[in-house]
Symmetry: D2
Subunit: 480 residues, 4 copies
C-alpha cells in the first residue's frame, strides 16, 4: 500500500480502543467533539503525502518495494535525509498553524533508535531483536501506520529507583513471561497523540539497574490491544470558538495517561526484555533523534510570534518605536538560533557503521535548549508589543451584539484603514497562542516536552569534549 | 457612617448601572454567575475593616470626624502611613489568594494625585478644583465608597495625537460645556473593577497639547450615571471549577471597556477642564502613587509561586535536587527584591509642602519593573519544577469516575504519604496560576498593568540624577 | 585620644612589620612607591573624621568616654546607626574615586560579630570571651586603630575538611596551648589592607567538626607580631600614570597572603579557642555584617559607570540614541537596586536582645547578589557606549609628542566644543575602571569579595521563610 | 611565488614605513620589543602554509597559475570553501593560543566584497573597477601579501554626517583628483595589524549621501606609502612576562590610528571614487564576509575559557560541585552556539551570479551577536570558578624568592598531586585572559570588533523575512 488517505486513517481509528475523556469512555475518536479536532488536525499528514504540491517532500519511493511511502519512514543516511526530515516537520507544522502533527515523527524517532540499539543488544546478548524491529518498521511503512511513543513513566517519587517505590507499578514492567510473549503492567504519562494513532511504541525512560531488570522493557502494540487504556487530558483544549481561539479551535494535540493493565505483548513485538544494561542507551538514543524532531517543529510557532507581534505593532501604530524594533529583533534572534542550530545538527550528523545518520547531539540539544530556555521571554515580548487589550477586550458576542457592536467598532479601532475586527482577531491570536489554556499548554510543552531543560544541560556537558579544552589550557601554561 | 458592611456594599451595586457581558446586558452584578465571583472576592475589603483580627490595620479613626473609616482613605503623611498602606494591600491580597482587591487602592491613588495637582492648578489657573477634590474625598471616606479609575484611553493609532486620529473619540473629551457641568464622550480601556464599584474616577492618560485642550479632563461619576456603559471582558475568567481552578474559581478581577456616551458631569465633580498643561502632570502623579500600589500587591502571588513550586518539589521527591534549590532561590530573589524595593520606596518617600507623602519614584518604578521584567521567567521556574503533568493530567471527572479514578490514584501518586489527590490539586494550582486563561491574564497584567515596562524605564531615567554621576566622572578625570 | 590624624596613622605603620612585595621585603610601607599609594588612599579615613564638612558623619562622641571617636566603632543599635554607617561607607568611597577604604569597615564588622557570638559562647561554654572582645573593641576605638580581617583560609582541596588535607596547615589552627596564650599556624588568603593597618583580626572561615576543633580559632594581633608575614599581591596595581589610570594611579586596595608562622597570641587577644560548634556561627555572623558593608560601598563605582558612560555618550554625540538611553537606564536600574535593597536592609534590621542591630539578612544578601551577578553586564554596557577607542587609542606620550600630538588632537575629537584630550581622558577612565589590570581586579572583587555568588544564594534560601509560602499554597488547594 | 616564508615576510616589513609607538617613531617592527611579539605571532600564518601537517588546509593550488598559494586568497564558491576558510581561521587561532592572526583574513574579506561591489558599480556607472580589484587580488595571491583593512573612520561627532562635522577630515576623503590618481586625507581608527602587514585596504565606513561624494572612496596602498602614518596603541600589551601572562606575552594584536596625510593613490589602486550610492553597499558587503571571519575566530578563546575553568575546578577540588557543572555547561552552550551558527552560515550560504559564495547573513550576524552579547557573562563564569586568588596571588618574584617561595608552595597548593606552581599558572592564565590589560582588550574587542552589537541587531532585523511571518499571522486569523 505505502500511502493511506486521510479517510482511511480516520476509519482505522474506530477499532474498539479504550479512551476516557472528562470522566467518560468515548466512542469513535474521529467523531468526538473535542478529540475529533485533533484527529482532523493530524490528518493533514496523509493529505500532504498525496498533495501534488507537497508530495515530493512528504512521500518517498521505497527502493525495496518500489512503493511510494511516507518519507517519515525513511531511515536517514546522511545530511540530506535529515534536512528533508526537518523540512517536512517544519512545513507540516506551519501548515498546521504552528501546531505539530507528531503521528509519525516521534514514532519513527523510536524506530531509528530501536534499529541502532537492537543491533548492539543482539550482538552483546545474543538476542534477535533487530529482525523484529525491522519487521515492525517495514510493516508500519507499508501500511502507513501512525505511531505514538509512550516513554515517560509516571515515576512516583522521583528520588527513588523503580523497585524502591511505594508500589512496583510506577514504572512499566514485565509481570509475566510466557512462551509466546510477555505481560506488562504500569502507566506512562503524557503520551502525545495516543488516542488517534494506530500503534504505541513503548520505551524505557531511564537507565536501569540489575535489580530492576524487569523494568528494562520495550515493545509495540496496537492501541486497541486489550488492557491498554487511555485517559485523555482536557488541558490545552479551549472551547472551539474560532474568533476567540483562531488556532486552537482547529489545531490541537492531545496527551494521555496511558495505562497498561496487564497487557499481553507477543514476542515479535518485544524489543527489549530485561537487558537492563541497554535501557539507558535506548532511552538516550531515542531522545537524540527525538530532540532533533523537537527542534524542527519549534520555528513555525516562533515565526507566528514574530508575525503576530509585527502585525499588532502595525495595527497599533507603534511599528517604528525603537523598543518594538528591539523586541522583534530579539524574537528573530530567538527563532533563527533554534532553526540554525537544528540545521547545523543535520549538517554535522554522525553516520553510524550501519549507515544510519544521527543528528549532532550537542547541536541538537543546544537547539532544543535555546528554544526551551527562552520561550517564556519570547511570550513576554509578544504580549508586551500586543498590549493589555489581549485580556481586557470584549467577547465575540459583544462584537456581534447590536447594542455593543457599534461601540466596539468605533472605539477599538487602531491604525486608520485596519478594520477593528481584524485588530480584535489579532489580539485573539496572541491570547490564543500565549494567554489561554492553550497558551499555558504551550509553555509547559516548551519546558518539558522531549525532556526538561536539565536533561539537555546534562547531555551537553556529557557530549562536549571538555578534556580537549583542558588540554588547550594546559598547553597555554606549559603544564602536561 | 465611615465603614459599610459587605452586605451594604453589595446591595448598593444594584443601582441600574449598565453592564454588558458576553453580548448581554446583565442585572444585579453581585448575583451574576461570573461577575458575582469578583464581587464576593472584593467584598473581603469590607469584612477586613470590621474583623477584629484585622481592623487595626484596615480601619482608621478619622480625626476630623472621629469616625472609624477605611484606612485606604487616609492621605499618607510619612513613611509609616505608606508602610501601613503597603501592608494593607499585601495582606488583603494574600487573604484573597494572591488576587488583589483594588476597589479602593487605585481610587485613593487617584484622590492623592488629584489633591496634589488640583492645588497647583488652582494656584496657576485660578480655578477651584482643590475644594471639589477634598469634598469628593471626604464623601467617599464618609460613605465608604468603592472606586475605580478609568485612565487609559482606547487611543486608536498610538503614533497620533488625540486630534490627529481618524475620529475625535479615541480619547475621552469634553463635547459640551454647560453652566452646571460638562458633557464628555469617549471610551477608556481596561478599567479594573468598574462593574462592582460605586464611583468612577476619570483621569487623562497622557500629556496634552494646547490644540487638544478639550481632552484635558478629569472628573468622577457614579457608575450608574446615564451614558456610562460598561462592556466587561470575559478573559481571565475560567469556568468556576474549584478542583481545576482552585484560585480563579473564587477570586477574580474584571476589566471593562468603559464608554462615556455623552455623559453629563456636574461642576462639583469636575477636577480638570481644559487646563492642558496639567494633564501630563496629573497622569504622572497618579501613576507614581499607583505603581506603589502595584508593587505592593505583587509579592503574595510571588510567594504563592514559591510555595507551589516547593510543595510540588516535595510531592515529586525532588526537593533536594540542586537545580530545584537554585530555581527556588531565584524565585525568592525575585520576590524579595520587589518587596524590599517597595518598602525602600516608602522609607525614602518625599513629603510635599502640603504634607502628603509620595513614595520614592525611582525605587517604586524599580520595584514594579523588576516584577514585570522577570515575571515570565518566574512562571517558567514554577512550571519547570512542577512538571509536564500540569497540562497532561486528568480531568476532575476522571478522578471521580469509578472506572478511571482507581487508576489515577494508583499511578499518579508521588512521594509516599502524600495523597494522589493532593498532588493533583497542586498541579491544578500551578496550572490555574500560570497555564490557564487566568494564568494568561496574569502574564499580561504583569507587563501592562500600571504602565508597561517602557514607561517604567522612561521614568527611571528621567528621575535619576545622571548629572551628578557625570560630575563624578568629570572629577575623576580632572575635567570641569 | 579617640581620633588620630592621617600623619599619626602613617607614622604608626613604620613598626617593623614584615611585608614582601614582588620578591622583596619592603621597609616603611607608607613610603613605598606602589603600596604607598594605597596608604595615601586610605588615609582619607582619618582626614574625613577631622574635616568640618564631614565630621558630623564620620566622627561620633562616645558617651562612655566623652571622646570624639571614629563612627565606625559605634555598635549599631538601630536603623539610624546602620543608615549612617552605610552613608559613611558610600561617601568615603565616593570621595576615594569609587575605591573603598576598608581600614575600619571590615574590622568593625568583625567586632560586632565577635560581640554577638562571644556572648553566646560564654553562656554555653562558660568562657570569658566577651569581656576580651569588649576590651579590644574599646582599645581600638580609643586608639583609633585601623583593622584588617583575615578570614578566608587558603583551603587546599576545597572538597576536603581541614584535617583531611594533604597537610594540616591549609586552615589556620592552634599548634600549641600555653598558660598565657596560644600559638597558631597557617595562612589566610586575600587579606585586604593588611600591609597598612594596625591590627589583624582572625576569624574562622567555615563550620568546623569536632575532630577539627583546633581549627576553631579567632584572635587579634598587631600586624608587627613576630611570625606574621604578609606577601602583598601586585595585581590590580597598574603603573602609576595619572593620564592612563586616572583612578587607580591614586586609589588602590592591596591584598595579601597572610602567613602565621607559629604566631603567639596572648590570652586576652584570643576570642575562640576550640569551641568548634561556634565556628560556623561566627563565620556567618561576620559575613552578615560584612555583606552590608559590601553592598554599601558598591554604588559609587556604579554611579561612576553611569557617569562615564553618559559623559562619553555626550562626547561621542550619541547621547540621544535609543540604545544608549536603554543602556544607561539599565545601569541606573542596576545601581539603584543595590542601593535601595541595602537601605531596606537597614530599615528592616533585627535588634538582638543585647541591643545590637543586625541588617536584614535576606535583603543584605540580595543587594550583594544583585551587584555581583550583574557586574560584568554593567561593564559591558559601559564599554559598549564608550567605544573601541578605549583599547585602541594612543599612549600619553603620543599625545605629548610634537610629531603625533597634532594628528591626535585633529583626528580624535568628538562633539564640537569638547577638547580632544578630555575625550581621551574619558576613554582612559573607562579603560582604567573596566579594561585594565585594575578593571580585572574589580571584576574578581565583584564576584568573590565578601563571599561568592553561591554563598549568597545559599543564605537567601536558608533565611527566607519557604514554609510560610508552602502554607499559602496548601491553603489555596485546601490541603493541610 | 605563491607562498612566502615567515622570514621573507618579516624581512619585507623593513621598508621604511612610519610607525609611532609610545611617543616615538620605531624602526624595523619585527625587531621591536613589544610590536615584535605581534609579528612573531602572526608569522605563524606563513609557517602553517609550509608545515606538512597543516599545508593541506592552509595552502591551495591556484588552478590559473598552478602555484601553491595561501588558501585565504581563494574566493569561496560554495559551502566547502567557506567551511575550510572557517577551519583555517579556527585552527590558526587555536595554535596562536586563542589569539587570531588576521593578516590575511580581513584583507581577503575586503577583496571578496570589492569583487562583488565593483562588478555592480562598473555595470551601473560604467567604471572599470573590477579589473583593478582582480589585478590587485592576483598580485596579493601571487606575492603572498599580508593585508590590513582600514575601515572605521574616526567619525568626530557620531550624530553628524561627514560634511557636517567641525572639520572635513573626520572621514577619509578625496582632496585632489589627478590624471594618474587621487590624493586622500583623513584617519581611520583601530586598524588591526597595520604595523606588520604589507598592504592597507581602505573601505568606506558607512552609507554616503550625494553631497558627501568625496567621502565615497576605496583603495589599497602599501603601508610604506608616503603620507601613511601609524600610531600604534599600547593597550592590551602587558609586560612580556611569561609566568604572569602565559598567553599575551607571546601572542598579541596591535591596532593603530592610521593617518592619511595627503596620500597619493595611483589609479590602478583606486576601487571607488565618488560613486556615493555604492559606499554603503561596499561597507555592508565587507562586513558580511568579515563577521563570518569574526565568528570563526571566537571559539578557540571560548574553548580556552572552558578548559581554564575546568582545570581550575579540578585543581581547587570543586569539579563535582553542581554550580561548577552548571557554569561549565553554560560556557559550552555559549561556545558551541557560536560555532554551530557559524557553520550553519557556511552551509546556508548564498552563491551569487558571479559564483562567489556569501555566508548566510542572518546566521553570521547571530553567531557574532551571541558571542558579543554573552562574552562578559562568560568571563564572569570563568572568574567565578577560578576564585579570588586570580587577583590576590603572589608575584612570580615571590614564588622564586627563597624567603617567600617555600611559604607559597606550602600554602597555595590545591588538590593533592597538583604542583602549586601549576595551580598558580592556571590562575595566571585566567587573569591574563580575563582580568588584565589584555583581558580588558578582549572585552572591548568582543563588543566592538567587526561592528557593535547594535549593528548586528540592525542587520538581523533587516535581513529576516518579517513579512512572511506577518502572512502566517494574517492567515491564522483569516485576514488578507
Amino acid at each position: 500500500m505505502g500511502l493511506r488517505s486521510a479517510a482511511e486513517y480516520k476509519a482505522g481509528l474506530d477499532d474498539g480502543r479504550v479512551i476516557y475523556y472528562r470522566g467518560e469512555q468515548i466512542g469513535h475518536v474521529a467523531e468526538h467533539d473535542d478529540l475529533g479536532i485533533a484527529v482532523s488536525h493530524v490528518a493533514l499528514d496523509f493529505d500532504l503525502a498525496e498533495d501534488p504540491a507537497h508530495q515530493e517532500l512528504f512521500a518517498w519511493e521505497d527502493e525495496a518495494s518500489g512503493e511510494l511511502c511516507s518519507r517519515y519512514f525513511k531511515s536517514p543516511t546522511g545530511t540530506e535525509d535529515l534536512l528533508k526530515r526537518r523540512e517536512m516537520i517544519e512545513v507540516s507544522t506551519r501548515l498546521g498553524s504552528a501546531v505539530v502533527l507528531l503521528i509519525k515523527e516521534i514514532g519513527t524517532d523510536a524506530l531509528f533508535a530501536l534499529d541502532l540499539v537492537s543491533r548492539v543488544v543482539d550482538e552483546k546478548a545474543g538476542t534477535q531483536y533487530h529482525s523484529r524491529v525491522k519487521a515492525f518498521h517495514d510493516y508500519c511503512k507499508k501500511e502507513d501506520r501512525s505511531l505514538a511513543v509512550a516513554q515517560t513513566d509516571v515515576k512516583g517519587d522521583r528520588s527513588l529507583l523503580p523497585s524502591e517505590q511505594e508500589h512496583p507499578d510506577y514504572y512499566v514492567h514485565i509481570v509475566e513471561e510466557r512462551d509466546d510473549g510477555i505481560v506488562v503492567r504500569g502507566a506512562k504519562a503524557h503520551t502525545t497523540c495516543a488516542p488517534y494513532v494506530d500503534e504505541l511504541i513503548v520505551l524505557p525512560t531511564r537507565a536501569i539497574k540489575e535489580e530492576d531488570a524487569s523494568y528494562a522493557v520495550s515493545f509495540a502494540v496496537p492501541v486497541n490491544t486489550p488492557g491498554v487504556k487511555l485517559i485523555a487530558s482536557p488541558f490545552g483544549s479551549p472551547p472551539a470558538n474560532e474568533f476567540h481561539h483562531p488556532v486552537s479551535s482547529k489545531h490541537r494535540m492531545i496527551d494521555t495517561l496511558t495505562i497498561f493493565d496487564d497487557v499481553f505483548v507477543p514476542n515479535e513485538r518485544v524489543f527489549l526484555k530485561g537487558e537492563w544494561l541497554a535501557a539507558g542507551y535506548l532511552a538516550n538514543t531515542f531522545v537524540e533523534f527525538h530532540r532533533f524532531t523537537a527542534a524542527s517543529y519549534k520555528p513555525p510557532l516562533c515565526d507566528m510570534f514574530i508575525g503576530a507581534a509585527a502585525l499588532l505593532a502595525e495595527y497599533n501604530g507603534i511599528e517604528k518605536a525603537s523598543h518594538v524594533r528591539e523586541k522583534i529583533t530579539k524574537l528573530i534572534t530567538y527563532t533563527e538560533t533554534v532553526r540554525g542550530l537544528t540545521r547545523a545538527a543535520a549538517f554535522d550528523c554522525r553516520v553510524t557503521d550501519f549507515g544510519l545518520a544521527v543528528p549532532n547531539i550537542v547541536l541538537t540539544n543546544l537547539a532544543k535548549y535555546h528554544f526551551a530556555n527562552n520561550y517564556h521571554q519570547a511570550v513576554a515580548w509578544v504580549q508586551d508589543i500586543a498590549g493589555g487589550l489581549v485580556v481586557t477586550g470584549p467577547d465575540e458576542l459583544d462584537v456581534l451584539s447590536e447594542e455593543t457592536g457599534p461601540y466596539i467598532k468605533h472605539f477599538l479601532g487602531g491604525k486608520q484603514g485596519i478594520p477593528t475586527e481584524d485588530r480584535l482577531r489579532a489580539f485573539n491570536l496572541v491570547r490564543d497562542l500565549t494567554a489561554s489554556t492553550f497558551g499555558g499548554y504551550n509553555e509547559l510543552l516548551a519546558i518539558h516536552a522531549e525532556g526538561s531543560l536539565e536533561t539537555q544541560k546534562i547531555t551537553i556537558l556529557r557530549d562536549y569534549d571538555v578534556e580537549r579544552c583542558k588540554d588547550l589550557a594546559r598547553e597555554a601554561i606549559g603544564v602536561k
